[in-house]
Each structure stands twice: as structure tokens, then as C-alpha cells.
Symmetry: C2
Subunit: 161 residues, 2 copies
Amino acid sequence: MGLKLTSNIEDYLETIIMLHKKNRVVRVRDISRKIGLSMPSVCAAIEVLSKKGLVNHEKYGYIELTREGENLGEKIYDSHKILIKFLKEILNTDPQTAEKDACKIEHGFSANTIKRLIAFVKFVETCPHPEGADWLKSFNYFYKYGKRPKGYKVRKIKEKS
Amino acid sequence: MGLKLTSNIEDYLETIIMLHKKNRVVRVRDISRKIGLSMPSVCAAIEVLSKKGLVNHEKYGYIELTREGENLGEKIYDSHKILIKFLKEILNTDPQTAEKDACKIEHGFSANTIKRLIAFVKFVETCPHPEGADWLKSFNYFYKYGKRPKGYKVRKIKEKS
DNA sequence: AAAGAAAGTTAGTCTAATCTAATATTACTA
DNA sequence: TAGTAATATTAGATTAGACTAACTTTCTTT
């Protein structure tokens, strides 16, 4: 029993992490509701996660993440969060679409790409003027009207380094 | 028989488009090799695509896209291309990873998000100085060293508008 | 044109992920 | 505390997508 997970199983793990964060106690029903699948499906998934050593689960009991499960889950959840951030704050997609898209693609990125995306979002966020907020505003204008807003140009100022 | 496609089936369609572009004639074997799956698997998929009216296929013959199949395939392929562009040119991931990641996530984005991404890439590409190429160079530095390169600052110059 | 190679198809099996229906356990409440 | 409601599990069926092995058709090569 290797530790190769299907993206499906990763979804369950991520859901458990999210529920854990707000409830501290996670049950089959909670996952079922959150993820929108039947309880038997959740049970089967928990069984798999348990065999992989990612959760502990006794019959009729709570579901608890192992150390390993938590680490992996956090990683997946991080991907999710950075994607949401990129979609919402940079591309400016509406929240629902962002959430939906992020869920679908979060398992597809390799670790390295995620690292780059994290850096990229940070880079954009911390851009000195005229990038940063204005830069994003400018993109929004560009998206809407197909051209850059008029009214300012920028030029590079060399500093003695 | 609706026109709801699994992303799996979309992969086949996309592969057909790509092969069509370079070979003009597409056979089961070509798809099998390109996509790395057995010929029976390809046959089964072609059967599905055929029932959906996206390809025409007579036994032992070539595979041809219908008008509808071509339209849809192009759309999927467009997503692929814009993702590759974003990954390679903006995030600067290595080509293999870019290709791999793009394949995995290309079915996950909603049409609207793709539109935004297309605009975004264009926006970055056409950024006037100090964005554009320099801006991307700057990001690369940022990715590598965790901070912006020293040596220039920018300031906004208002033009009479 | 006949033989062998390549390509395509069919048949049957497997796994992952889902479901519903039925059963079992636990929790709540009157 | 007894009965009901909520939750959890088991059993069994279904679907999609993959495979191998065996068979059929088409192509190629001598």
C-alpha cells in the first residue's frame, strides 16, 4: 500500500483539514455534507486514508489526522489557498468561480509550480508603484476595455547602487 | 446522450486536434502513442466521441473531427496553450513541468477564468516599461532571492489627460 | 499475390468512485 | 430509561476508464 493518492482522496483529506480547523472534531457526516457525497462514499474514502496511515478512525468514532495526514493535507490546502488568491486578487474572478476552479485544479500543479505561484502572488502584491494595486487596477481596465488606461506612463529611475 | 464530457474524453479530443494539426490524418495508433494508452482504450474513447457526434469514424478507418468536435477541441487546446504560456513565460517553470501541469489543469478552468488568463498574459506581455520583460526579470530575481532586485525604483509620471 | 507485419477491434477483467437500501450503533429527548 | 432520531457502516449495484489476450482487417514487402 504505497502513498500514491488519487486527487479524489486528496479532496477528502483537504476537506478534513478544513473541518478540523473550524470544528476541532470531524465526523463522517460533516465531511459528507461539506463535500456533497453520501456517507458510504465518505466511509470508503476514510477507510483508504486510514490504510494509508493518514487518518485514525475507530468505528463510529471521530476522524483524526495523523501527523503525516496533517502535513499532506496542509500542503494541499496551501495550494488551494494560493490558487484562490491568484484567481480572486489577481485575475479578479468572482468568488464562486474562483472557489470552483481552485477545487478542480489544485491537485494538478506540481510542487515547484506552486512555489512559483506563491512567489508570484507575493511579488505582485508587494509591487512598488506603479505596480501593486494600481497595476491590478490597470489590468482590470485592460480586461474590460482591451487596452491600458490612459493617464500615466512610467519610467525607470536608476539609483546609484 | 448529452454533450457532457469527462475531462478524460476531452483529453482524447485535444490529442486528436493536435495530431490533426500536424498529420492531417489521425489513426487509433497515433492517438495511442501520443497519449500513452492502449489501443483498446483509445477505441473505446473514440466510440464515445463518435456517439457524441464529435468525430466520425468508420471501422478500420481514419478518425475525423466533425465541425462541432473541432470547435470544442480548439477551445480545449486554446486553454492548454494559454496555460503553457502563463507557466513558461510568466512563472518561468521549466518546459516539461509546464507541459505536465498544463495537461492536468486545463480542464479545470471555467471559460471566464480562461478569458481572464488570456487577458492577463497579454497584459503582462505588453506592459510598458518597467514592467514587461524587465518586470518578469524582476520577478525571476524575486523568486530566486526572495526580494526585489536593487538598482531601480519607479515613479509615476502623470500626463495631462 | 501470398505471407507476415501492423493496425484495429472485441471480449472479458480490474479498480476507483460513486450510489441506494438495509442494518447497526450512538445520541437525544420526553 | 425507553424510544426515536441521527449517524455510521455494510452489502450490493453501477459507471467510467483502464488493461491483456485473442481475433480481424488492412498494409507492406518480397
